[in-house]
């Protein structure tokens, strides 16, 4: 029995009257790639933001590496974050800094290494991301795929044991998307990272995932291996796999009322 590195228990999130997350439970084991899959509006981004400690839930707990991130003291949280890397959807590079300065940011703020060591580490990570020689560019000069890779370079600069990746292949051409998927697998295999990927791209899910958690309207509807998900009898999951929209068919009367904007009364 391996002790999970992340445990999400009974997580609820509510904004106004909208229930974004409804009783989400999941575990991430060390060394695995867990993919949280769901369409837009499924609550997957909200779940990620909670796991990163950027949002506070209505109720529920998330333990990362034995620390409850919602009740942790600032210093505890800071120490935890030094062990976590996060690659954001659009890279989230600081627009006023060059690529190299962005990548070195965590080292400059959290370590006391020599400048030369930091320089070499930055170039090593850029090489790994296939971005050699781009360190002097500004984020505005990069393509979408390069922004993501630069963001990934920054996320792994401290060699974290836990990596979060938001939408690795969204908005990329197929070749670049495949490259990023391979990079994720390399990072896990060579650096022994635990990786949580949030995505809606099925190809990449089936390629990289050890385990998949499917979110639908804020609820976990499936949690299993790639094969288990593929063969799931759940209609919603099959619709997602076969790219069928999930439309609700109501009777003519309700539809007419909606067209006439009468449903509110």
């Amino acid at each position: 029995m391996v002790k999970p590195i992340i445990t999400v228990e009974h997580l609820f999130a509510q904004y106004g009257d909208t229930h974004v997350l409804k009783d989400v439970n999941l575990e991430v084991n060390p060394g695995e790639i867990l993919v949280v899959m769901g369409g837009s509006g499924s609550g997957k981004s909200t779940l990620l933001n909670h796991m990163l400690g950027l949002k506070t839930p209505t109720s529920g707990t998330i333990m990362i590496d034995g620390v409850n991130i919602f009740t942790a003291k600032n210093k505890q949280l800071r120490n935890l974050r030094k062990k976590m890397g996060v690659a954001f959807q659009g890279g989230a590079l600081l627009s006023s800094l060059t690529v190299a300065d962005n990548v070195r940011l965590p080292l400059e703020h959290n370590t006391s290494l020599d400048t030369q060591t930091i320089d070499i580490m930055v170039r090593m990570k850029l090489e790994l991301m296939n971005m050699a020689g781009t360190g002097h560019l500004m984020p505005s000069e990069l393509s979408g795929g390069m922004l993501k890779r630069a963001g990934l370079a920054r996320a792994v600069i401290m060699d974290p044991k836990l990596l979060f990746f938001d939408e690795p292949s969204a908005g990329l051409d197929p070749t670049t998307a495949v490259e990023l998927d391979e990079l994720i697998l390399t990072l896990r295999d060579a650096m022994n990272m635990t990786i949580v990927v949030v995505t809606h791209e099925l190809e990449s899910v089936f390629k990289i995932a050890d385990r998949v958690v499917v979110l639908f309207a804020g609820e976990v509807v499936a949690n299993g291996t790639v094969d288990e998900i593929r063969n799931s009898p759940d209609e919603r999951i099959q619709n997602m796999i076969n790219r069928q929209p999930n439309t609700q068919r109501d009777d003519g009367e309700v539809y007419l009322n909606r067209l006439l904007n009468k449903d509110k009364n």
Binding site: L113, T117, I120, M121, M124, L128, I157, A190, M191, N192
Partner: protein, 109 residues
């Protein structure tokens, strides 16, 4: 993390034990560079090294460069497991002189 320095023929053998990471890579680098500055040939022994992160690797690159500038030898021996994977991932296996063991280097020199 532990470091032991032994003399073997005309080499200084730096044996690394345990894990090299952000917290100790700088002091290891300074130790090795000090040996290089006094014109010693260096063998870094990875045999008992369990883990090395990229700050450790970057430090070794700096030491390697220092050795070149001082015309001394710099070898890494006994890389295995995770450190070997990191060497391959960063393609530094194409940069360093790698060998299996200390005797493989020192007996040829």
């Amino acid at each position: 993390m532990n470091i032991e320095i032994e003399t073997h023929n005309n080499y200084q053998v730096v044996k690394l034990y345990g894990e090299v990471d952000l917290s100790n890579s700088r002091s290891i680098k300074l130790d090795i560079i000090k040996l290089i500055k006094s014109k010693n040939n260096i063998i870094v022994d990875f045999t008992h090294l369990q883990y090395i992160d990229s700050s450790g690797m970057a430090s070794l690159v700096e030491a390697f460069n220092e050795a070149r500038e001082n015309d001394t030898e710099f070898h890494i021996v006994g890389a295995n497991g995770s450190p070997l994977q990191v060497l391959q991932l960063t393609r530094l296996n194409t940069v360093f002189n790698l060998a299996d063991s200390v005797s493989a280097v020192s007996n040829n020199g």
